[in-house]
Amino acid sequence: MNEILWVVFPYICLTVFVVGHFWRYRYDKFGWTTRSSQLYEDRLLRWGSPLFHFGILAVFLGHVMGLGIPKSWTEAVGISEGLYHFLAVSIGAIAGFGTVVGLAILIYRRRTVGPVFSATTRMDKVMYLFLATVIVLGLVNTVVANIFGHYDYRDGVSVWFRGIFRFDLHPELMAEAPLSFQLHGLAAIALFALWPFTRLVHVFSAPVGYLTRPYIVYRSRDDRIASHSPRRGWEDDR
């Protein structure tokens, strides 16, 4: 059972994540967008969207820190257990709280503003369900487990997580983790499998290149969009 939940399931989902993105980018560039609904409604979005997005960016960085960097490394540079714990809980709680509030505003907006609701796809709804579950469980982990419990995820979940990428698997570490951590992990893994088929793909087109490119882009007349016949789909013209 542990193997299925913490070895097979993650690998299947991560494979879907990678291959799915490749497939989507190859065949559905036109559908690769944020699908912004700002045109319909602005008042709620103005608060909800930045709260959620900046919050989730901070949460992401927190995860890089907590899951990606081994405990021994942070201790080597002189960050004590207590200091790390304090930073993780305080910053994590603030970011998580902002994210949850932002998400709540956005979901409330999506449900109550008519045009936004009618532009919501079934896939959006499934995605919102998983995303909200993952985020709420994550906040629960940070606040409840960190303050009242004594589970050190850096000796458990983090080691298992890094193991996935090194093919050094320790499913028993997850089995020992508290239930809320297990559920957070499972929901997140499932979300990764959904990811390429939702609007979440826009994460991977974060326009950081804008900071360095020239303002005006010149391009030569494009054969593929001009009045030429399109090339065959199976011919790799890139």
């Binding site: 560039k29 036109f30 559908g31 690769w32 967008t33 944020t34 699908r35 912004s36 609904s37 700002q38 045109l39 319909y40 409604e41 602005d42 979005l45 103005r46 969207s49 930045p50 959620f52 997005h53 900046f54 008519g114 045009p115 009618s118 532009a119 826009h202 087109s205 326009p207 950081v208 290149g209 804008y210 900071l211 490119r213 303002y215 005006i216 882009v217 010149y218 391009r219 030569s220 007349r221 494009d222 969009i225 001009a226 009045s227 030429h228 016949s229 399109p230 090339r231 065959r232 011919e235």
Partner: protein, 559 residues
């Protein structure tokens, strides 16, 4: 000198009757889809009026276009790159659908499906955005022909600039129409605002396009464009804008809006410009100097040095020739009657306008004086400060002198040509008074008043050296692509297999054939076909039956 070619347009506002044919045909051709209900690549605004979307010209609110920063450098008015990325999650300057209008349809089926009842059923307006009942309160040209303007026109940002004096003279106001499409700017701020780099300027003809595969819906172009001519397709989540009908222009046809313009007031042609000078011109300190600065970016295509540089820059010879015949260049730089729309936005717009003389003519007509007399016209131009200041706010950042001169030229053309039309001796002092020669004035009259199709539209087809492949299927094998089997004749699985016929090419060529053919329904090159609608039933016109191989002489006798 770095020569580039730009496809540009001039509209003669004097001839615009505000019929909206351009808007309607454009919409039918390009934005007749769900998600683009409120999108008007071409719209016609009544001036004075708020425009579409409402008050878009108020850049202190919308922050579109460019501005000079404290050090005199050109920067986006909506903020730099970092600021754009930080506000990407909620664009603070993006107009909402309410600033455009909520598109709607009517619940027509109620009219026929309603059960028997005391009162006649009505078709209620239904929002195309939410599907709910709605109250129609605004649309793309709600203030058409100054309708309701007594209440709304004071919000016109241009009127505000002209000042209070308009308000009490509103009863004796002036009115004209302003058709607008994307300006295809030399220095497009929409492209500069796009975080994904999806908006680009085509290096061959300067048309500004959105790459639909690269657009990620960040919405910065919409607030970046000061003319608000980039729209957000709310179904696909991508930006869309006027394409200058590039599939038509590429085969030498004018844009749909131009083709269908009943007033024949649009001119399309090439201008050559010096790409190295664009930034410098757009950074001109004095806003009122921007019109002149932009004019100086254009290069004279008959100058041998320019021609040499153009050839060196890879501009095909026929394009350089077309640039010499370009009506747009003539109106902008030879007769100097066309002016850019809002040069103060510093985007170097490439759709220019000949300001209307009609408000002036109308006033004279109402007084009972002769509206074609030079003295009356010139005196009226001097007297009618408000309409002229208004025009100046639109076209020259408030500088009255260029507008004044253009109107004088139009007035001079009017009175000079009247003498000729009435068989009187033309008065050479009239052109002199506006600094033109008689010949120039006559040529201008020919271009503006006669406005022949071939002279209004001088559009060289895309790349003569590529013409062969544009007509690919007519002349070459569809399998003649690199690595293909190169079979002769039909495709690998018989006729009709293999590559698809690009329908756009086929249709556009057919349309062009029909338009340039001598007869209405028998295009050239289709000699074997017979138009049965013209056949009176007697005899057998040639081509009705295939020729008999052994009996060709007797067939000739029959004819």
């Amino acid at each position: 000198m770095r020569v580039m070619a730009q496809m540009a347009m001039v509209m003669n506002l004097d001839k615009c009757i505000g019929c909206h044919t351009c808007s309607v045909t454009c919409k039918q051709a390009w934005t007749n889809r769900s998600g683009t209900e409120y999108v008007w690549f071409n719209n016609v605004e009544t001036r004075p009026g708020q425009g579409y979307p409402r008050t878009y010209e108020d850049q202190e609110t919308w922050k579109g276009g460019w501005q000079l920063n404290r050090r005199g450098r050109l920067t986006l008015k909506g903020g730099g790159r970092l600021r754009k990325l930080l506000t990407i999650f909620s664009n603070p300057k993006m107009p909402s659908i309410q600033d455009y209008y909520e598109p709607w349809t009517y619940d027509y089926s109620t009219l026929t499906d309603a059960p028997a009842q005391e009162h006649t059923p009505v078709a209620r307006p239904k929002s195309l955005i939410s599907g709910q009942d709605m109250k129609v309160t605004w649309s793309a040209n709600w203030d058409d022909d100054l309708g309701g303007s007594a209440a709304t026109a004071e919000r016109d940002p241009i009127l505000k600039k002209v000042g209070d004096k308009v308000r009490f003279e509103f009863e004796q106001t002036f009115m004209f129409y302003l058709p607008r499409i994307c300006e295809h700017c030399l220095n497009p701020s929409c492209a500069a605002s796009c975080p994904s780099g999806a908006i680009y300027k085509r290096s061959e003809d300067g048309i500004v396009l959105v790459d639909q595969d690269r657009c990620r819906g960040w919405r910065m172009c919409i607030s970046g464009c000061p003319y608000k001519k980039v729209y957000f397709n709310h179904r696909t989540g991508k930006a869309e804008k006027c394409t200058f009908c590039f599939p038509r222009v590429e085969v030498g046809l004018p844009t749909v809006c131009s083709e269908t313009c009943v007033g024949r007031l649009r001119y399309i042609g090439l201008v050559l410009y010096d790409a190295d000078k664009v930034l410098e011109a757009a950074s001109t300190t004095d806003e009122q100097g921007l019109y002149e600065a932009q004019r100086e970016v254009f290069l004279d295509p008959s100058d041998p040095a320019v021609r040499r540089e153009a050839e060196r820059a890879g501009i095909p010879h026929d394009w350089v020739e077309a640039a010499q015949r370009s009506p747009v260049y003539a109106l902008i730089n030879r007769y100097k009657v066309a002016l850019p729309l809002h040069p103060e936005y510093r985007t170097m717009p490439m759709v220019w306008y000949i300001p209307p003389l009609s408000p002036v003519v109308d006033v004279i007509k109402e007084t009972g004086e002769d509206p074609e007399d030079r003295g009356n016209l010139f005196a009226a131009i001097d007297a009618l400060r408000i309409p002229i200041e208004y025009l100046a706010e639109l076209f020259t950042a408030g500088d009255v002198a260029p507008v004044d001169l253009v109107l004088r030229k139009l007035a001079a053309m009017r009175s000079y040509m009247r003498d000729i039309n009435l068989g009187r001796d033309p008065d050479p002092t009239i052109p002199q008074a506006v600094g033109m020669s008689e010949e120039e004035l006559y040529d201008m009259f020919r271009l503006l008043a006669l406005a022949k199709y071939d002279e209004r539209y001088v559009i060289p087809p895309a790349h003569a050296e590529q013409a062969h492949s544009l007509e690919e299927l007519a002349t070459e094998c569809s399998l003649d692509y690199e690595g293909g089997p190169g079979m002769g004749g039909s495709g690998p699985f018989g006729e009709g297999s293999g590559g698809t016929t690009p329908i756009a090419v086929e249709n556009f060529h057919m349309l062009q054939d029909r338009q340039t053919a001598d007869t209405a329904a028998a295009p050239a090159g289709k000699g074997a076909r017979v138009n049965l609608l013209n056949w009176d039933g007697r005899g057998a016109p040639s081509g009705l039956f295939p020729p008999k191989p052994d009996d060709s002489e007797s067939e000739a006798d029959q004819r």
